[in-house]
Symmetry: C2
Subunit: 143 residues, 2 copies
DNA sequence: CTATATATTTGTATTATACAACTATATGGA
DNA sequence: TCCATATAGTTGTATAATACAAATATATAG
């Protein structure tokens, strides 16, 4: 059985990614990486670069640099870990939270305008299936 | 009505993209950009950089560089346009087609293993919705 | 026949990423 | 207790994908 659906997904995914990555630059003042890192800190609370790197599936050095950019912008604070003087916690600031919310809203608005003609059913299903895909990949990677 | 589905989609999409972009490096010997360009030439036939850039939503210079990488690898041939001596056609070679097919198969296999436990219905729907999303964006951009 | 438009390439810059080398601190075993 | 090794994080270096601007060569319209 040569699964037709797989073929369709495979083809659509490449377009999907390119489209999103390219277009979001034009409407977001926070770049992807910063947005995702901020969202992570906002959702799961303060963490060090090692944990963040694991959770975001990035190299520690990558997160270290991204975090220091956010520190410079005062979006996060770098707090020494009192129990381990090698380690730090990055914690989102009020300014950072505000910036995150503003960005989230912009992304939301844009998505909303793209999907304005979709049925509620389709929107719901699309979200569910994306989540299902991500969950499936997570399970496969960390069984 | 603050659409919950939008919120879910917005959140899932960022993870989705990162996951795919990062993991595909480990199993593909052709990088994203090369793969997409080759696939374009294979699907729609020979074209010049201007056309390709439009179709792929990239800058002409970007395509120019990507194309020349493929030329060096003998995956595509650069053919002067007989009607316009400024212009060229890039045409996929047999080697390129072979490479493309091999890569497509790898991507397919990987996707297949990720989605092995999904129902046919879900796979079908996921592909359809991704396509619907891409089509919607295309319509919005080029009405 | 010249001025402008067009197809493409090349120079330069930016962003996101990884790997390797390094620093500072923690920890476990003799 | 002290040293060897492990760990948290940063910094140096490299690569890939991208865009914008400048340059080149050719086409086209008045």
């Amino acid at each position: 059985m040569s699964d037709e659906s797989l073929d369709l997904i495979e083809r659509q995914v490449t377009d999907f990614i390119r489209r999103i990555v390219l277009t979001e630059k034009t409407y977001s003042n926070l770049d992807r990486s910063a947005y995702i890192l901020l969202r992570q800190l906002s959702t799961y609370g303060p963490a060090g670069v090692k944990t963040l790197a694991q959770d975001l599936h990035l190299d520690i050095s990558t997160v270290s640099r991204q975090a220091s950019v956010l520190v410079n912008k005062k979006y996060v604070e770098k707090i020494p870990n009192p129990d381990d003087r090698r380690a730090y916690y990055y914690q989102i600031t009020d300014v950072g939270s505000h910036e995150l919310e503003e960005n989230k809203q912009k992304r939301f608005d844009r998505l909303s305008s793209i999907l304005e003609d979709w049925s509620d059913e389709d929107k719901k299903r699309f979200g569910e299936l994306l989540k299902k895909y991500n969950d499936t990949v997570n399970e496969k990677l960390n069984p």
